[in-house]
Amino acid sequence: MSNELVPMKQPTYYEEVERKGYSRRDFLQFVSMMTAFIGLENSAMGQVAKALETQPRLPVIWLHFQECTCCSESFIRSSHPIVADILLDKISLDYTETLMAASGFQAEKCLQDTMTKYKGKYILCVEGSVPMGADGVYCMIGGKTSLQILEEAAENAQAIIAWGSCASNGCVQSAKPNPTKATPIHKLVKGKPVIKVPGCPPIGEVMAGVIVHLLTFGRIPELDKLGRPKAFYSKRVHDTCYRRPFYDAGLYVETFDDENARKGYCLYKVGCKGPSTYNACGVMKWNNGTSFPIQSGHPCIGCSEENYWDNGRLYERGSSFAGFGIEANADTVGKVALGVTAAALAGHAVMTNVRKKKLILGLEEEGKQSEHELKS
C-alpha cells in the first residue's frame, strides 16, 4: 500500500492524549486553558473537550519558506505540554520540514499523499514569506519554488494559517530594499481566507488557540480587518501593559541604566512600540507565562506590526521616515523649516519697507494729518 505514511482513519486528539500517557486531569487542564485563551466563556469548555474527544485530528501541512523557524520554536514552548505533544507532534506529522522524520523523496511523497488523501480537508500552515524575485530561486524545495509549492498546497486546503510575521507581512527579509522580493502569503493566495498570526515569533498559546478554535467550531476564528484573530490581536500591548500606570503618571525611563529604569517606569521614551502594536504579550506572556520583553526591561519593538523594521528606530519614539534619504526626524526637519520660514519672513518684512515705501508713507502721512487736524 502506498498510503501507509498517511493513515486514512485519524485518531482523535483525546486518543492521542491517552496514548501519550496524560491523565484525564491533564487533558481537562489543557481544555480549560485553551477555552480561556480563545476568549470563550467557561461554559464552552464542554464544547472544546468534546471536540477534542470526538474530532479526528486535523491533517496538517506545515510549509517552511523564508523564515528562521522561530514560530515552530515558539509553538513547542507553549505553556502546556499537550500543546507541543499533541497539537504540534500530531498535526505536523503529515508534513513539516523541520520536525518530520522522513526526508528526500519519501518526504515529498508524504506531502503529495496528504494533499490527495485529504483533499479539501487539510489545514495549510505557512511559516515564512515567499521570495518572488528572480523567478523564486531564493527559496526552492525539492526542485520547486516556494510559490509553486504554496499554490499547489493552497488549492485544496480547508483553511490557511500564516504563522508569524514572515508569512503575515513579510518580516525582516522584506525590509527595504527587499532584495528577494519577499511577499506575505495573503498577497499570493487568491480566493481563500488567510488567518494571519503575526509576531516574530507569535506567542505559542496564540498559535495553539487558533488551531483549537478551528477544531472546536470547524470554522476560522473571528478576524479583524487585517485578517488577525480578534481574540488575540484586538488590544494594543500598551493597553494590557503592567507598566501602563507609569505611562499615565508621566514617569518614564530616560536611559536604560537610570534610576527610573531600576524603578520599573514606563519604557515609552526609550522607543517602546507598545502603543502602536496589537498583540497579547501583556496578557499571555511568554515561556510558560514567565515574562515578556517589557517586563524584562526592554521596550516592545512591535514585531507583530507590518513594516516594524522600517518604521523608524527601535530605541526612539518613531517620528522618522526611513528611506527619506537620510532618516529624517520630523522635529529636526520642522525646526529647520521654521528657521528658514522665519528668515524668509524677516527678509520679506525688510523688502516690504523698501519696495512699498511710498504706500506706507502715504498711509502714515494721511493718518498724521488727521491727527494734527483733531483739536483734542
Binding site: L226, D248, P275, G318, F321, G367
Partner: protein, 244 residues
C-alpha cells in the same frame, strides 16, 4: 486756517467676517495651540522626577485628555466651517478656497507678484480672502482632514464611541498605527509653519494696506476706500454664484 489734506480717504465699512466665522477662527486657533503643545508633550514627554506613587499622578493622562478634548472641538468646529461654507456670506463661501475658474489662478499670480515678489504694479485690493490666501486655506483644510483621519484613526482602538470607531479603517488601510502616528506628527509641523506665516501676513496686510486686517477677526469689519467701492476695483477669487 489749516488746509485739509488732499488725499484723505473716505473709508467704507464692510462686514466681512460674520460672527460664526469669527467664533470658528478663534476656537480653531485655541484648539490648534492646545493640540500642538499637548501633542509635543505626548510625543516626547518631559522628564518628571517624583517621589509620589504612580497611582497618585496622572500627568500624561491629563495631557492626553486635553489633547482629546481639543481634538473633538477641532473636529466639530471644522465640520461647522464646512457647513458655513455653504450658508455663510460670500467671503465665507467654499468657492473662495477652491479654484473653479481661470480668474482664480490669474488672481493668485497677481498676488504672488505684488505681495511676495514685491514687483511694481497695481496693488491688489481684496476684501475677503485674496486668491492666494484662499487657495492656501484649501490646503489647511486638507491638513485638517489628514489630522482628523490619522488622529481619530489612532484613537479609534481606545474608544468605545461609534464616532471615533468610524475612523478605525485608517490604520488598517495604511499598514498600522506606527505609520499613521508618524504622518500625524509630521503634519503637525504644517500647522506651526502655517501659523507663523499667517500671523506675519496679517500684520503685513494691515501695515501696507491700512484696512483693518488685524482687527477684522475681532469685529468682523474691514474698511475699503470709497473710490474702490464705487469703481468696483476690488478683487475676489471667484465671483459668488447667484443663488436662486
Amino acid at each position: 486756517m489749516k488746509t485739509k489734506f488732499l488725499h484723505v480717504h473716505r473709508l467704507r465699512r464692510v462686514y466681512v467676517w460674520e460672527l460664526p466665522v469669527r467664533y470658528y477662527h478663534w476656537l480653531n486657533a485655541l484648539a490648534i495651540i492646545v493640540l500642538i503643545i499637548t501633542g509635543f508633550f505626548i510625543a516626547n514627554p518631559l522628564a518628571i522626577q517624583s517621589h509620589q506613587e504612580a497611582a497618585n499622578q496622572f500627568t500624561m493622562g491629563w495631557v492626553r485628555v486635553a489633547h482629546f478634548i481639543a481634538s473633538y472641538i477641532f473636529f466639530f468646529n471644522f465640520l461647522f466651517r464646512i457647513y458655513w461654507g455653504f450658508v455663510g456670506n460670500k467671503y465665507a463661501n467654499w468657492n473662495q478656497f477652491i479654484p473653479t475658474s481661470k480668474k482664480f489662478f490669474r488672481e493668485m499670480w497677481h498676488v504672488f507678484k505684488i505681495d511676495i515678489l514685491m514687483m511694481r504694479g497695481k496693488e491688489h485690493i481684496s476684501i475677503g480672502h485674496n486668491a492666494m490666501a484662499g487657495f492656501i486655506y484649501f490646503f489647511t483644510f486638507l491638513a485638517f482632514l489628514v489630522q482628523c483621519l490619522t488622529g481619530f484613526g489612532l484613537y479609534a482602538s481606545m474608544s468605545t464611541w461609534w464616532l471615533p470607531k468610524l475612523f478605525a479603517w485608517v490604520p488598517f488601510m495604511f499598514g498600522g498605527d506606527s505609520f499613521i502616528r508618524t504622518v500625524h506628527h509630521w503634519s503637525m509641523w504644517f500647522f506651526i509653519l502655517f501659523a507663523v506665516i499667517h500671523v506675519y501676513l496679517v500684520f503685513y496686510h494691515d501695515y501696507v494696506e491700512g484696512r483693518g486686517e488685524i482687527s477684522s477677526m475681532g469685529g468682523g469689519w474691514k474698511f475699503i476706500e470709497e473710490e474702490v467701492f464705487q469703481n468696483e476695483e476690488h478683487h475676489t477669487p471667484n465671483e459668488p454664484k447667484n443663488k436662486a
